[in-house]
């Protein structure tokens, strides 16, 4: 595994090899391992080492991209030549603003020694501890314990020269009984705060409480969403609505709605890779520094996120949200946060007279992009709330609901927040209470 300094050196070397007017090189190296378990035993256990070089060559305003994971001199030269050859044939793009110039990125340590030390034996012991609470209660556990180290460096012919190391430890557990199931998860930079036995207990407890689920008539109900469910909604809002490309093309709910109240005043959404608690890179895949961007403030739409191209196109400053070139998705926020409120999860449940508590969603997809109408299922702990208390488990419910409309009915949030996702795209979310959520079906 190369170091950030070695990755930067390699990126600079390949920039120099690229015979183009402008050149940008991304180096992305990874060493990762994942121990997977099911039926109360380890069933898959894998590790990999890889490194990718991505070259963007620019001739005038013509652009070509090539990548390879072969790092010998001959292959690197061939990769540069392939990028230049593609650029030579591509038509001029008058809207291309040129590759970005260097700007200082925030220095941050995003790697943990504990992640580097989390070897196959340590992961297996963690798995055994996660499984035990399920096994001892006649339940079946499945999930994963993953560790990853990523080294990313970007250099370009204008002097961008950045690199850093990011580590992550992630664990999930599904505990299953005959009729009920429960879920718990962990995401951190290292193993600090990772308590496998407690995670296993949490999932097993939910599995037992969700046994023998009952029916609920489809309809619109108040809901309390746990952080995992909130993260799904946030991720789809980010993908469909928060990009300057979607905004400029009229595909975002924020198109023509900036400075407007689009959700309740309790909703505050930012993208912030610079905060002390953030995970992941502090620069984007063009090497531009990631900025703290308030996207929704007290329910008012403020601005989308940008990369160098869409900053020029939209007039917003470059917020440092580029993906690797070529990028047909446009810029995306990878460090989304919903700010928390002042309640506990129990207090949110206490606010509901008759409604539904959702631990997490499953297989969510977009039916209508502008209102971000989503459909998906609930999973691993869906409960009826009656008079402010969880009273009985429910069979998994299907929902069909506009996310923007749902957040316009947000009434309260938990103080406590949780990271969901991976170290390369971690979403920090509270639990929330929504006044109305449309459930359209149920698993039999």
């Amino acid at each position: 595994m190369m170091t950030p300094l070695e990755a930067r050196e390699l990126a600079r070397k390949v920039v120099a090899l690229t015979l183009a007017d402008e050149a940008e090189v991304l180096v992305a190296a990874e060493s990762s391992a994942l121990t997977r378990f099911a039926n109360n035993r380890i069933n898959q256990n894998v590790a990999e080492d890889n490194a990718l070089i991505n070259v963007r060559a620019v001739l005038g305003t013509r652009i070509g991209v090539a990548s390879t994971n072969r790092l010998d001199d001959e292959s690197l030269a061939a990769c540069c030549e392939a990028a230049v050859a593609a650029a030579r044939i591509a038509p001029e793009d008058p809207s291309f603003p040129g590759l970005p110039a260097p700007e200082p990125a925030k220095e941050a340590v995003r790697a943990s020694e504990s992640a580097r030390e989390f070897d196959a034996e340590a992961r297996a012991r963690a798995v055994a501890a996660i499984i035990e609470p399920s096994r001892s209660r006649g339940l079946t556990a499945a999930g994963k314990v993953r560790v990853g180290t990523h080294v990313v460096a970007v250099a370009n012919s204008h002097g961008i020269d950045v690199g850093m190391e990011v580590t992550g430890v992630q664990a999930t557990v599904l505990s299953m009984g005959e009729t009920g199931s429960g879920w718990a998860s962990f995401l951190g930079q290292g193993t600090e705060g990772f308590d496998p036995a407690a995670m296993g207990e949490e999932a097993a407890d939910i599995a037992i409480r969700s046994a023998n689920p009952t029916d609920l008539e489809p309809g619109t109900y108040p809901v309390v969403l746990g952080p995992e469910a909130v993260a799904d909604i946030m991720d789809f809002l980010g993908f469909m609505g928060f990009s300057a490309k979607a905004y400029e093309e009229g595909r975002s709910f924020m198109s023509n709605a900036l400075e407007s109240q689009v959700m309740t005043e309790y909703v505050n959404i930012i993208d912030d890779a610079t905060s002390p608690h953030a995970m992941g890179l502090t620069f984007d895949y063009e090497g531009a520094p990631k900025q703290r961007i308030p996207i929704i403030e007290e329910g008012v739409a403020l601005r989308p996120v940008t990369d160098s191209y869409w900053a020029e196109k939209s007039g917003f400053i470059n917020s440092g949200h580029a993906l690797p070139a070529p990028n047909s998705y446009g810029p995306l926020p990878l460090n989304l946060e919903m700010l928390g409120g002042d309640a506990t999860l129990e207090e949110l449940i206490g606010m509901v007279k008759y409604g539904v508590y959702v631990t997490r969603f499953h297989y969510v997809n977009v039916e209508d992009p502008v209102p971000v109408t989503l459909t998906g299922m609930t999973r691993d702990g869906t409960f009826l709330i009656e008079d402010g208390k969880l009273t009985r488990p429910l069979k998994n419910l299907r929902f069909t609901q506009g996310a923007v409309e749902a957040l316009d009915g947000l009434e309260a949030l938990t103080t406590e927040r949780k990271f969901v996702g991976t170290e390369e795209g971690a979403t920090l979310v509270p639990g929330i209470m929504l006044s109305a959520f449309n459930f359209t079906g149920q698993t039999t």
């Binding site: 994942l34 090539a66 591509a90 070529p326 459909t375 299922m377 299907r398 698993t443």
Partner: protein, 480 residues
């Protein structure tokens, strides 16, 4: 390559592996996209590496590296054995593999024109022409024209004596027109959504799709969708086009009959299945009109190969025969658990991933109906085309799909266009409501190169043969 594989296998044996296999994969990809008159992507990528899978004391270990040398192969093999030994700290019953005659030989897929030999100029010219033709429609404000090409060479060997070499090309292309107005976005795609059409073939497939010739129709339909009404909520007799039928088969027959899901091995991520292993031979999956096969021998299909990534030869197997569950998609490990031998469905997404049970070409076999006859026979109902959105629960029972476009059926003819029709159902009830499938004249194989499964996530290239089919009493217009 053989020397490197043998070095890996020998090192695995010496480190204590009871079984090992090694795969070297050398792949290249080219992606080109023109969007709204601008070239958004011209990209070429290469990936090369080695993966070693071992069984030691009944537990699995796997390690992979991008360095393909005999020394690195030996190191990776020892790492895989070390990982397998760590697995023993939380092991269950020892893994056993079903019996297999060691595979030896070579296989290659069909290809008339090597797509990597065709100049970028020709590809860009085709996409630019299609993009321009769509932009001639004023209501269409965003357009995309895309083509992609993939080449893979793969070498496989095992400690049982197998050694195979396989190679193939994949080619694909598609166009999308977006009509956007007043906060509404409608889309129309050709020949399919989510990446267009794909085959194991050369550039001839992309040329024959005639993207340019279809662009004006696609754009006009997108424009018409802007003013079309939404699909009414209710229960209708529904005719689903072949492309959406392919995805319906994928989600509600293919995935639930993967034996690793059935046995709970994918429970935490993709989910389990409503199907049980003991259901084979007795479970009523659908009506007598529903016959589904899994076939890895269909020429030109994304689901075809010579041997799977365990060295099991490609084969054709019944999954559902006239409504009754007859088979499952299996691996050597899962097949052994139910007392069978593997039917060759293990495939990995590259050198750095382990093989998982994946679909091959899982197809709804054709029926006897002509399409016009089926519409006429339906009288009143709804006909829908081209997937827009999909979702299904963790047991593959409760699904909801949305399509790009629909047409009301009135008096036995297609009538008014409706936008974004969606429908929902429960898998066995839905397939039980199938009372007609169109004939082989309307049947084609739809390539699907974005099937996600496993952790780390793997993306498989699979395919589904399907023709339009009719389902009675389906709930549509959900949540509208």
């Amino acid at each position: 390559m053989k020397e490197v594989i043998e070095a890996a296998l020998e090192a695995a044996r010496l480190a204590g592996a009871d079984y090992a296999d090694a795969r070297i994969v050398d792949s290249s990809r080219e992606e080109i996209q023109v969007a709204s008159g601008r070239v958004e992507a011209v990209e070429r990528s290469d990936s090369f590496g080695l993966g070693v899978r071992v069984l030691s004391n009944g537990s699995w270990g796997f390690a992979a590296s991008r360095e393909v040398t005999t020394a690195e192969a030996a190191r990776v093999a020892r790492q895989a054995v070390g990982i397998a030994k760590a697995s023993a700290l939380a092991a269950g019953d020892p893994v056993r593999l079903s019996a297999l005659e060691p595979a030896r030989g070579t296989w290659s897929g069909p290809c008339e024109i090597d797509p990597f030999s065709v100049g970028l100029e020709d590809k860009l010219a085709l996409l630019t022409a299609a993009d321009e033709a769509m932009r001639a429609e004023p209501a269409v404000t965003v357009t995309k024209a895309h083509c992609g090409f993939y080449r893979e060479r793969k070498w496989f060997g095992s400690t049982e004596g197998a050694f195979t070499e396989q190679s193939w090309f994949e080619s694909g292309a598609g166009i999308v027109a977006y009509a956007i107005k007043d906060g509404e976005v409608v889309t129309r795609s050709y020949p399919n959504s989510h990446g267009g059409g794909w085959k194991q073939a050369g550039f001839e497939y992309v040329r024959d799709l005639d993207l340019v010739g279809n662009a004006a129709r696609v754009a006009a339909q997108a424009a018409e969708l802007l003013t079309a009404p939404e699909c009414d909520s209710g229960t209708v007799d529904l005719i689903i086009d072949g492309s959406q039928m392919g995805l319906q088969v994928h989600e509600s027959v293919g995935h639930p009959t993967e034996l690793d899901r059935v046995l709970g091995e994918e429970a935490a991520f993709a989910g389990t299945s409503w199907v049980k292993a003991a259901d084979v031979g007795t479970l009523v999956y659908g009506s007598e009109h529903v016959t589904v096969t899994a076939d890895a021998t269909v020429p030109g299909s994304l689901g075809s190969f010579g041997w799977d990534d365990e060295g099991v030869p490609a084969q054709r197997d019944p999954i559902v025969d006239r409504g009754i569950l007859k088979g499952l998609l299996t691996s050597r490990e899962t097949a052994h658990e139910i007392g069978r031998t593997s039917n060759g469905c293990m495939r990995a997404d590259g050198w750095n991933r382990i093989p998982l049970v994946r679909m091959t070409t899982v197809s709804l076999e054709p029926g006897t109906w002509g399409f016009d006859d089926l519409v006429a026979d339906t009288g009143e109902g709804l006909y829908i085309e081209t997937n827009n959105s999909w979702s299904i629960d963790d047991k593959r029972l409760n699904f909801q799909f949305a399509c790009e476009v629909g047409w009301e059926i009135k008096g036995g003819e297609l009538g008014r266009m409706v936008k974004m029709p969606n429908y929902t159902g429960i898998t066995p009830q839905f397939w039980a409501s199938c009372d007609a499938v169109c004939s082989a004249d309307h049947w084609q194989v739809w390539g699907l190169n974005n099937c996600g499964k496993g952790e780390p996530m793997q993306v498989a290239h699979v395919a589904h043969g399907a023709a339009p089919a009719r389902f009675r009493g389906v709930s549509v217009g959900v949540g509208r």
